[in-house]
């Protein structure tokens, strides 16, 4: 039996195979790996046995109260965010107006107004697309792990 195959079997937790045992006895490197896995498996087994803490009294009530607050918060945040954006857009418009008044005219004055509208629209559209409580990042888990795995997977080959 080859070391590579033995290591794979050891990693998956099958120590009992007689061929593996025979190999482990005669190969110091695989013997060390077998001893290591034995320790780690025992540790995992013990950790698995540890019970999670008991749910404290009033868990459900507390959750329902917090849900109420959480449901209200996104709309408040949205209003606040929209408010902040309106301030930015207003500042931008003021700046554009000031620049267009101050700078020497090289075209029709009304063009500045068109530009303001074009600037303002995507800003406002962004507000409605924003996910409440930053939950847009939820979708990140698969891609986050997937990205790293894809890279790692290639390295493995």
């Amino acid at each position: 039996m080859r070391c590579r195959k033995v290591r794979k079997i050891l990693e998956e937790g099958s120590h009992d195979d007689p061929h593996v045992q025979a190999h482990v006895k005669s190969c110091p490197a695989c013997g060390e790996a077998a001893a290591g896995w034995s320790v780690l498996r025992s540790g995992f087994r013990q950790l698995r046995r540890e019970e999670p803490p008991e749910v404290s009294w009033g868990f459900a009530e507390r959750l329902l109260r917090r849900l109420e607050v959480a449901v209200q918060r996104p709309s408040e945040e949205l209003i606040e965010m929209a408010g902040r954006r309106i301030v930015y857009v207003t500042l931008l418009i003021t700046l554009l107006v000031l620049v267009s008044l101050w700078a020497p005219s090289s075209g029709p004055r009304g063009a500045g107004g068109t530009a303001e509208v074009l600037v303002a629209r995507p800003e406002m559209a962004e507000v409605s697309q924003e996910a409440p409580l930053g939950l847009g990042s939820l979708a990140l888990v698969p891609s986050r792990l997937a990205g790293q795995t894809a890279a790692g997977g290639q390295r493995q080959k």
């Binding site: 990693e11 120590h15 482990v24 013997g31 060390e32 790996a33 077998a34 001893a35 290591g36 896995w37 034995s38 320790v39 780690l40 498996r41 025992s42 540790g43 995992f44 087994r45 013990q46 950790l47 698995r48 540890e50 999670p52 803490p53 749910v55 404290s56 868990f59 459900a60 507390r62 959750l63 329902l64 917090r66 849900l67 109420e68 959480a70 449901v71 996104p74 409440p132 409580l133 939950l135 990042s137 939820l138 990140l140 888990v141 698969p142 891609s143 986050r144 792990l145 997937a146 790293q148 795995t149 894809a150 790692g152 997977g153 493995q156």
Partner: protein
């Protein structure tokens, strides 16, 4: 979607009510899934004092996001995905404070692990040896990259199948196997490093 089991049908009804903003319905769902989520979070963060708070935050996130649940995966898988995502952020944030060094281990624990490791047979160790081994694995998990910690926890502590982990993480089962292999290998390497006094 057409499920003959009344329990499954009841759950679909509850989810649909939650999607319309019914908090009481969500309370019932939370009651059903409280235990598995508690277990998952406890195994992942291993901080008794923080588990309940983290679980509450996960349920709140789930409630806010439930409109986006499209019944493509089981609700347990969907909820586990939110839990994993939340714990991932938690573990990343707390990584610096959680880095543990082997020298924090007592001499007695070290001796017990040493003797357990030399036994080469996976036979039963004494209770205190077992505790020392659990402590060692806990420290190794805390030192591991967060991605390794998550995948090892799901497989070794939560006993989830490769297919289930694939469903939770959105990875292909073959990719899960590769990642699991890599995480295990890194952990064994780290353990050997400790044995050599590194």
């Amino acid at each position: 979607m057409a499920n003959p089991h009344p329990e499954a049908r009841q759950e679909i009804e509850l989810i649909k009510r939650c999607q319309k903003g019914d908090r009481e319905a969500f309370g019932s769902l939370a009651e059903t899934y409280r235990r598995p989520i508690f277990s998952l979070v406890f195994h992942l963060v291993h901080r008794r004092d923080e588990v309940e708070d983290i679980v509450q935050e996960i349920f709140i996130k789930a409630f806010v996001a439930i409109r986006g649940y499209n019944f493509q995966s089981s609700f347990r898988t969907w909820l586990s995905r939110i839990a994993i995502n939340h714990c991932y952020d938690y573990l990343r944030r707390n990584r610096v404070s959680r880095i543990t060094y082997f020298w924090q281990m007592g001499e007695e624990s070290e001796r017990r692990i040493e003797s357990g490791g030399e036994g080469r047979k996976p036979g039963p160790h004494g209770h205190e040896d077992q505790l020392a081994l659990a402590d060692l694995v806990d420290k190794l998990l805390a030192r591991a990259p967060v991605e390794d910690r998550i995948i090892l926890t799901l497989k070794e502590l939560e006993d989830r199948s490769v297919e289930e982990i694939a469903g939770i993480s959105g990875l292909k089962p073959s990719t899960v196997k590769v990642r699991l292999h890599r995480a295990r290998k890194r952990m064994l390497k780290d353990y050997k490093k400790w044995r050599r006094g590194g």
